[in-house]
């Protein structure tokens, strides 16, 4: 029998149902790997809680209950609040915070019988694309310890890539699921805005935040997303649609599928060692019967300024609740109320978070609102319209996830603008609220992974996953393992 951590979720499912191993065996196996790992992928691990959940899953299995995720271990990005495990958002502000309730996503997965392995590291309040903005330290890329794992869901991506967890939740505001998935060589999907409840997701930018699924394959992601998604009355932006099996379209042919290639995604900004694997992956899709069509998303470049106005604006307001009064970090050095606020927040938030709060405060402030915030929202509309036009001609859009492979740790810290520019291919779908997926498409310089991004129409997750699954039937990029996990 191959080692448990190598198995796909389907194989784990079969093993559990056939009693070849127990949920407790699984939990132990992954807890041991987490214990031994040096990637710093986790912020909080509590074996006793994990094993208790595993025991419950075993009891349910013994009672004859069956379910896709019953007994399957899952790691949660530390943006989802959890009872029992600390919920820190990778911030000093919440370093010791324990939530009195579970996020809806966490509760749904618990009820489905998934076993929580702990909380994964990420950029502070999900603000970043390298996972270096964490109060608990950077996460290393399993493919190359000198490289960043991407961000902000870097811990989740690294954990899945290094097989410290078969599945992990992530959150995606401007690419935080897709970009680390790409850089760590795993599959990750951000669904349509409103699919996954935001209740219990520590808010970064409310009109963009969306929970996503990360796993070793499209098939694994489909299982996780099907359990995560669904209407939640506690989130006023949650979409009222019946639960879906996102794997329902698997096995179909790609014959005649029209894939749009935005010319703006293949300009000179795209590194050659990314372009080549992406082109090769597109050829595979053509060989499988798909037709690629050139399309245009003319305002792609403008997605960067639009996003870096809207996201900080919402963040500056969302993060005002962290004031050291009811929970979280409280300075000892205050003389009055004003200094209690200003010092607690200055001590509790890291530099990138403070930068974004200041930018957001600026673009909303008197006299600048129309020029920045309102203008950005109008641009957001135009960017969404570009997609609508493109989807008039094609079924889905494909392109790179990130202009480059993972860069080196520390290489770009203190250069925010350079980091922001690297989000160019993931921001447009986020602004339009569209589903986006990243799947392994090969490797670039230094053997660092490259992902292919698929963007679909609203509610078209099942199609994206089916195309990715078909691709993964024909390739083995998703099955490659970094040395550490081999």
């Amino acid at each position: 029998m191959s080692r448990l951590h190598d198995l796909t979720v389907a194989e784990l499912r079969a093993g559990l149902d056939q009693r070849r191993f127990s949920a407790t065996d699984l939990a132990r196996a992954f807890l041991d790997r987490i214990q031994a790992s040096t990637l710093n992928a986790f912020i909080d691990v509590r074996p006793e809680l994990t094993l208790a959940q595993a025991a419950q899953a075993d009891a349910r299995l013994a009672a004859g209950e069956r379910g896709p995720l019953l007994g399957i271990p899952v790691a949660h990005k530390d943006i989802f609040v959890t009872e029992g495990w600390r919920s820190t958002a990778a911030s000093r502000m919440l370093a010791d915070y324990v939530s009195p309730f579970d996020a809806t996503v966490v509760a749904r997965l618990r009820e489905a019988g998934a076993v929580c392995l702990g909380k994964t590291n990420c950029d502070e309040f999900a603000m970043g694309s390298s996972n270096e903005n964490s109060h608990f330290g950077a996460v290393r890329n399993p493919w190359d310890p000198q490289a960043i794992p991407g961000g902000s869901s870097g811990g989740s991506a690294a954990a899945v890539a290094a097989r410290l967890a078969p599945l992990a939740t992530g959150t995606d505001t401007g690419g935080s699921v897709r970009q680390p998935a790409s850089m760590c060589g795993i599959t990750g999907i951000k669904p349509t805005y409103g699919r996954v409840s935001r209740f219990g997701m520590i808010a970064f930018a409310s009109s963009l935040d969306q929970g996503g699924a990360m796993g070793g394959s499209a098939a694994d992601c489909a299982l996780l997303l099907s359990a995560m998604a669904g209407f939640d009355p506690r989130d006023a932006t949650s979409i009222e649609r019946p639960a879906e099996d996102f794997g329902r379209d698997f096995g179909g042919s790609l014959q005649g599928l029209r894939i749009g290639l935005p010319q703006e995604f293949f300009g000179e900004g795209l590194a050659d060692d990314v372009r080549a694997p992406v082109q090769a992956a597109l050829q595979v899709l053509r060989d499988l019967g798909a037709v690629t069509v050139p399309v245009s998303l003319p305002r792609t470049a403008l997605a960067i300024p639009a996003y870096y106005v809207i996201a900080p604006a919402e963040a500056s307001s969302n993060l005002s609740r962290f004031d050291g009064v009811r929970y979280g970090h409280r300075t000892t050095g205050h003389t009055d109320l004003a200094s209690l606020y200003a010092r607690s927040r200055a001590e509790g938030f890291g530099p990138e978070v403070q930068r974004r709060i200041l930018v957001g405060t600026y673009v909303l402030s008197h006299g600048y609102y129309d020029a920045y915030y309102l203008q950005a929202q109008k641009l957001r509309r135009l960017i969404a319209d570009d997609f609508t036009a493109a989807f008039g001609e094609v079924d889905l859009i494909a392109g790179p996830v990130s202009p480059t492979v993972a860069w080196n740790l520390g290489e770009r810290s203190d250069d925010p603008v350079r980091n922001y520019l690297a989000d160019i291919f993931t921001l447009p779908a986020s602004l339009a609220g569209l589903p986006g997926l990243s799947m392994p498409a090969g490797f670039g310089a230094g053997g660092r992974p490259v992902g292919l991004q698929l963007i679909g129409r609203v509610f078209d997750e099942a199609r994206l996953l089916a195309v990715a699954d078909r691709f993964q039937q024909a390739t083995d990029w998703h099955a490659r393992r970094p040395a550490g996990a081999a």
């Binding site: 004031d323 009064v325 200055a346 600026y362 929202q377 641009l379 339009a432």
Partner: protein, 95 residues
């Protein structure tokens, strides 16, 4: 036009962030770099475009007027920095 030290001080006060001198300096440079990036917005003609506040054009869902939250003070105040007689304590509020 780029931000000045005074602008950053004003923003920091509005955002309740205590920026120490040298940190304010570094922040000023970085903020101006970021603003330089978002300046590009100004170039675009958006006359007649409806601002997009929500990615989905849904209407607000309303909940029935029911009391569903029991008293959870004990649990909610467990991590509170300073509590007395069930009240959250802060430095004296002057009005």
């Amino acid at each position: 036009m780029p931000l000045t030290d005074a602008d950053v001080a004003r923003l920091a006060r509005l955002a309740r962030l205590d920026l120490s001198g040298e940190q304010a300096q570094r922040t000023l440079g970085q903020l101006n770099a970021v603003l330089g990036l978002i300046e590009q917005l100004q170039a675009v003609d958006t006359r007649g475009v409806e601002p997009m506040t929500h990615p989905t054009d849904m209407a607000l869902r309303l909940r029935p007027d029911e009391v569903t939250e029991p008293d959870g003070r004990e649990r909610y105040q467990q991590g509170a920095p300073a509590v007395e007689q069930g009240l959250y304590l802060v430095p004296r509020v002057i009005e």
